[in-house]
Every structure is written in C-alpha cells, then in structure tokens.
Amino acid sequence: MALLKRRHWIAGSLAALTGCSRDPRAEPSAVSIARAAHYDGQLFDLIRRLLIEQGLDVRGKRVVLKPNLVEFDPGTTINTHPLVVHAALEAFRSLGAAEVRIAEGPGHRRNTLELAEAAGYFKTIPNFEGLFTDLNLDDISPVRLAKPFARLESLYLPKTALGCDLLVSLPKMKTHHWVAATLSMKNLFGLVPGSVYGWPKNILHWAGIHQCIADLHTLFPRAFAIVDGITGMEGNGPIQGTPKFAGVIVAGRDPVAVDATCCRIMRIDPERVHYLQLAARRGGLSEAAARQTGEPIASVQVPFELIPQFRTLRLGPG
C-alpha cells in the first residue's frame, strides 16, 4: 500500500487517547464474568453492574458500541444478540454518557441496515436507525501503523470510531475457522471500511489475519469489551457453526485479557492463539495475568467444539 503523506497521518497515538481507562498493563487487568441464562430485560442491570464493577467513568463521554453483525440465518446465532446491544446502550446512558451510538461495518453484506433489520435490531432497539452508523460508508481518515505486525503500514478507518471517547467491542463468543476464536479483538475487523477495501475486507486476510487483529488492537488498545457469551457458536464459526450455550457475559477494559478469559471459558488455550500471543507480548496470557471477578472461570467453562485444525489448541484439564 502506498505510504501516506505525513499531513494525512493520524498517529496511532491519537487512537490511544480514546477510551477512559488506565494503562491495562500497569497491573493485572480486571475481567468480570457474570452468569446470564437468557436474553431478557435483566441484562440491563447485569451490564450496568459490570460497568460499575470495572470502574468505568463515562460521564460526558461519546461512546460507540460495536456489535458483531455478519450475516443472518434464523437457524443459528451469528450476530451479537440485539438485547445485549440494547442493554449496553441503556447502561451507558444511565451512567451519564453524553452520546451512545451503535456502529458496525459488516464484512460480507453491503446492505447493513437490511441485515440489522433481519437480525432484530430495529425491532429491539428504539430509534435504531437514528442511533446507527454504517462504518462501511462512514467518512474516513488515514491512520499510520507505527510498528505493524502485518504487511500494512497504514489503514483508512472510520471517523466515528476514531473520534469517540470510548469504543466498546460487543462480540459474540464464537469459534472461527481461520483464527480459532473470534471475540472482542477480531470484532474490530468491522471497523475497516468496505467503501475503501471492499466486501469482504480481504486486504486483512492477505496482510495476515492474526497480525491485522493485533494491529487493530494496537490502534484501539483501550477499547472496552463486553462479550455476548449467553449463546455462542462452536465448530465451523463464525457463520456456519452450531449454537452453543455458555450462559455468560464477560467484560473488561483490556480486550486481550477479556479474550484470553473467553478462550479459557471455551476451553481453548489462549497462549496458543497467535493473535493473542502477538498482542500480549508484554503482558502475558496466563490466568494470573488477569484478575477475575464474578464467577470463577472453572465454574462456567464449557468446551466449544473445534474444527480439526484447531483441536491442538484445546485447553487441558484445569
């Protein structure tokens, strides 16, 4: 990719200003695990409690919620459940956020709103269209990657994501046929605009999927993560897998720690997931590197079926 002119660069450090948290590597990152048996109205209280537990101060902040919207198939569980997104929206509002928007740039479908309608977002979230930004069609800024893992020196990214105070990644807990697990970090692929790179965002595959996940994390290191792990997906995810009940919501300020914890819940060894290895170079991925609150991992662990090439990543007995 052509080098960008200096005047066009928004240094990666600008993105580091987003978010409302302390340096996640200064001490073990807190990861909250809460049981949630159903998609229902109680999710608002649960997510609000997790945000308070995480000490998140969003008063006066502009918050962007980034769910995972990929495809719609009524027979399975591809997308972040709209009730989780609605609960998060109301929880951030109740904690004093100045503005909460929902934003996503699906990787396959151009008609994002049609997809959102099929996935139940219009029906569940009042004024959804007014709150929503299609990141595939948003205005963009070039961003330079200072020390990229992938073969990309720069990316064009949507201004809605670059300009918010707190980016909240709201993924579905799923296995993934290329990278083993797709969670809060992989969910950031949806920030990369289709209007520039196309549908799918194939440039991320050619540059190295694991490396690009780590690079996007570098650009948004303090994104907050809330993982919809009530009913996830196992097997040939992220689209053609099978629904898998795990009954949890997992949240935290450090996406690496949150994703490592989710891997443990799915009985995947996070220390052997390459993008987590790259992103956690300094912080480590051991269980001790995160301070778990709420439910202990062991009490909510449920093995997600893995396709054959990832069976070596199965976490051994605890």
Partner: protein, 281 residues
C-alpha cells in the same frame, strides 16, 4: 419530490455525492452521474460532478474511492462506464486490464502449488479485486465486465473480449448452489454458502447475453428475491439484472431510499425499465 430532484438536493458543493451526506466519494458520484446525465434540469450538476471525477483520476490511470485514499481501486470500472475523454478513458482501461485478483497471479499459483494449498475452485480464470493486491470477487468483477463490454461495443478489442470472457467464466465458477451469487465465496471448508439479492442482480446484469438456459435457476431466484428484498439497493440491482434478461420485474413498493446511492440506483433501474439500460449501452 421526484428522485432526480432528491438526488440533486444531496449534491455536495464540490460536485460529488457522499454515501450518506458528508464527504464526496467516487462510487455514489459516478452512480448519480449515470442517473442524472440525460436529465435536462441536471446539466449544471452533472458538469460539476464530471469535473470532480476528472480531478480525482490518479497518475496510474485509475480512480481512488475517496480523495483521501492514495490507491486506485475497483471504482475505476464505474468511471469507465461513464465515458471520459479519450486520454482519460484509455489510461483507465489500461489500468483495468492490468489488474487481476492476487489469487490468480502466476506467483500465487506457484506458491500454492509448492505449499500444497488447495483452492475451493478448480478453475480460476482471472477476474478483478476490490482493492489491488487482494483476491478477485464477484461485484468488482461484474462491474469491470460491464465497463469493458461498453468500451468493447464502441471499439472492439481482442484484449477486452478475452478479459470479459474470462471474467464471465469466473462468475459461473462462483455461482452459489442456489443459483445466485454472494460476494464471491460460494463454498468454504466444504460447506455451501448462500447468495445475496444485490450481488445476484449485479452478476445477472454482467451476464447479459448469456443463453437463458444456463441462468434459469438464477433468474427464478432473482424473481423470488425481488419479492423478499428489503433494501432499495438490492431491489435496483435485481431489477437491472432481470431486465437485462428480458424479464419484466415488478418490485414491491414502499421500500425507502436511504442514501444518494440508493436513489441513483433506483433511477437507473427505472430508466432500464423504460428501455434505456445505461450499463448495457
């Protein structure tokens, strides 16, 4: 307010159109210009749009999707459809002819062979990527076919003819089991993947002139999609694709246009229903 007036009201002061307001982008601007150029009341707006696009041509002959992007991409095909002056058009066509999906380059074929990487597709004729250096996909390939066909009809050229035929083969290799098309991945890890309305319509448009028997399932699917689709963009491509094969599709009413691109596509579909399909002229 009629669609042309709505579209004109959304034009940016610089002459272009945005996807949803905001900065001008090449794709909505080219589509708006295709839709408006024969409208007498749009002459001034069309001239400003054309000037905006002309300023955006890059030294390599292609167009970037947005002024901030320093890379020519698939949108070059859309601008070729508009027709530029001979020099601009010639350089743009050359840019298109020099592009193929990275997966079909000799280097990558050899690499896959050496590494024993098996492709989902046994036949992989060259086609077009969205963004240089990446694989070929259905929408940029369909749009490039339409652009090169238009040029080839005016100035027959064997190089164009060869790329058009190869690209059409590519579209057939990427047809989904249901007869339609998605972004271009009809199979993955042995699983069949379903099609989408908008890409099915666009692929059918690019396959204009192909014998109907080869497309019977695709046309039947497109007619079904036309009754189910809830986006104006999808409906417009379906209508354009069906009209290209002699069908007279009646689209459902009341589906909103959500941005200038959808308004432009709706106008182009209406124009095609009236007998003038600008993608096939």
């Amino acid at each position: 307010m009629d669609p042309a007036t709505r579209l004109l009201a959304l034009q940016n002061p610089d002459g272009g159109w945005g996807y949803r307001g905001g900065n001008s982008w090449t794709e909505p601007t080219a589509c708006a210009l295709l839709a408006l150029e024969d409208q007498p009341q749009a002459a001034g707006a069309a001239a400003r749009a054309r000037a905006w696009l002309q300023r955006l041509q890059r030294p390599d002959g292609g167009w970037a999707p947005h002024p901030a992007v320093e890379q020519s991409t698939w949108v070059t095909a859309l601008v070729v459809l508009l027709g530029m002056d001979a020099d601009r058009q010639g350089r743009a066509i050359q840019w298109l002819l020099e592009r193929t999906g990275e997966d079909t380059t000799l280097l990558n074929r050899v690499r896959r062979l050496l590494l024993g990487i098996r492709s989902e597709y046994s036949q992989e004729p060259p086609a077009w990527p969205w963004f240089p250096g990446t694989a070929a996909w259905v929408p940029p390939t369909a749009m490039s076919v339409l652009a090169l066909r238009k040029v080839h009809k005016q100035q027959p050229d064997s190089r164009l003819q060869q790329r058009i035929e190869q690209a059409r083969q590519f579209l057939f290799t990427r047809m989904c089991q249901d007869g339609g098309w998605n972004h271009g991945s009809s199979r993955a890890l042995g699983f069949q993947i379903g099609s989408y309305p908008e890409t099915t319509g666009l692929a059918l448009l690019a396959l204009h002139g192909v014998e109907q028997a080869r497309l019977a399932r695709s046309l039947a699917l497109a007619e079904r999609y036309l009754q189910e689709c809830r986006s104006q963009e999808g409906l417009s491509w379906l209508q354009l694709g069906l009209l290209a094969h002699g069908r007279r599709p009646a689209a459902p009413e009341g589906i909103p246009e959500r941005n200038p691109l959808e308004t432009a596509l709706r106008m182009l579909a209406a124009k095609a229903a009236g007998g003038r399909n600008v993608f096939l002229e």
